[in-house]
Symmetry: C2
Subunit: 254 residues, 2 copies
């Protein structure tokens, strides 16, 4: 039975997609069969793995009940990893879901059919707290929160924790916090160190040991359609995501 | 009659808020009375100017017709700049607006009453293409598109241009593109140079001469609640936004 992890933070550009792709790839290399669900209409997790964001059927059609989830699962050629691609159609889902029955539960129902075939399911979320992110939190066993070491990123954390609490109370009592992941850490700046210290103070016990440094190889890899592990495995970015994967594997029992 | 400029891009973390605050402050220093509208529920433009994101009344209440816009305008102590602050209530607006009359037009109607009092109105948008951003594009004379020099940021540009075209056809025939602003440009990386070259190739004529370099002073300033011009005016970040403001002033006739 797969462990489902949602990668969420309404703050934009904090490393959600980069974490979703590279954590999934690292879990795959460690021999864990992993499904990566791209639940962001931008489709960055889809294109970051070399797939097209213009396919006929995608997660949008599955969510709206027009096809099964298994019919859209694709193997992008990354060891141990399958993907549910996203397309721009998903932009319409936020408004279209607003008025349907059990609108928060659609993704959880869909994933139910596939959980037996994987060890992990990783869901990349858009930068918002709308119905797509709520669906992901309702479907997840835990939420992994990437956090850039910057001022604005800290600001949104209290509101995100509040949203997680509300989803736990209303839809998903088992939802826990997998952890807060510091991303784009730049040891040369005071800002990164100050934010990290402040986080340790307010959220101690919830922060991953692994810290992802700012590393240009991480931002170059998507233009080759590959996770960084297949672009430059010796880079500090790749090594950090391998370390993150072992922390995640040690957390759970799968 | 104020010129209304929306700062929009659905890609997260590309520098929308940083541009909105620092462009508004630079226009204020140049003697142009400027209204900064924080239309993002995250409230980063509000807190980045030292104001609280927990006030009783905000742009949310004005949009929902509960108070006038002028009653929520605040002077944050930045020369020539007033602000319409945002609070977390705005998170609810996307869903609440979904089923009301002329839902795309609410912000344009509100701003109509204030346009005479300012030279410029600058609107900070959330990282999405939902009803809040559509409202901002409907109310605007032009859209300024901040673009990080990274692969994923390039990907969303075609879809954003498509959305601008659709808003122009359906709601706002006068909507033009103020320009594409390259942000967080790092001259040490090939990626920044390659993205800049690719942009010049596909969007030539629409790109600002001014390029905003990656500069840590820009990310430090918000923790002091000040635009970078009031935190470190000699920094390259501050100088770049002063240059951007003169380009914007030369574009228009105000
Ligand atoms: N550790 C890192 N070092 C350097 N660049 C990074 C790192 N992590 C992510 N990036 C780059 O920063 C940008 C933002 O990251 P990413 O797109 O993964 O964030 P996101 O949270 O998914 O954004 P969005 O909110 O738009 O979904 C991307 O261009 C990515 O390549
Ligand atoms: N030129 C720059 N140099 C260094 N840091 C920058 C620069 N511009 C913005 N930043 C920092 O990068 C982060 C992202 O910028 P910002 O929050 O302005 O982007 P945004 O597009 O408004 O994000 P969102 O999509 O969440 O609204 C912030 O922490 C900001 O301080
Ligand atoms: Mg993303
Ligand atoms: Mg912003």
């Amino acid at each position: 039975q797969a462990r489902v992890i949602a990668i969420a933070n309404q703050k934009g550009g904090v490393g959600k997609t980069t974490t979703a792709i590279n954590l999934a790839a690292a879990l795959g290399i460690a021999g864990k069969r992993t499904l990566l669900v791209d639940f962001d209409p931008q489709g960055n997790a889809t294109s970051g793995c070399g797939l097209s964001t213009a396919s006929e059927q995608s997660i949008y059609h599955a969510i709206m009940g027009e096809c099964s989830l298994s019919s859209i699962v694709v193997n992008p050629g990354i060891r141990g990893v399958d993907i549910c691609p996203s397309t721009q159609d998903l932009y319409g889902a936020e408004l279209e879901l607003a008025t349907v029955e059990n609108r928060e539960d659609r993704l959880r129902e869909l994933l139910y059919t596939l959980r037996k075939g994987y060890h992990y399911i990783v869901i990349d979320c858009p930068p918002s707290l709308g119905l797509l992110t709520i669906n992901a939190l309702t479907a997840a066993d835990s939420v992994l929160i990437p956090l850039q070491c910057e001022y604005y990123a800290m600001e949104g954390l209290a509101h995100l924790s509040e949203t997680v609490r509300r989803v736990r109370d209303a839809f998903n009592p088992g939802l826990s916090v997998e952890g807060i992941l510091l991303t784009m850490f730049d040891k040369r700046t005071n800002l990164s160190r100050e934010v990290a210290q402040e986080l340790q103070h307010h959220y101690s016990g919830q922060i991953f040991q692994t810290v992802i440094p700012r590393n240009v190889r991480l931002s170059e890899a998507p233009s080759f359609g590959k996770p960084v592990l297949y672009y430059d495995v010796r880079s500090i970015g790749a090594q950090s995501y391998l370390a993150l994967a072992s922390e995640v594997m040690n957390h759970g029992s799968t």
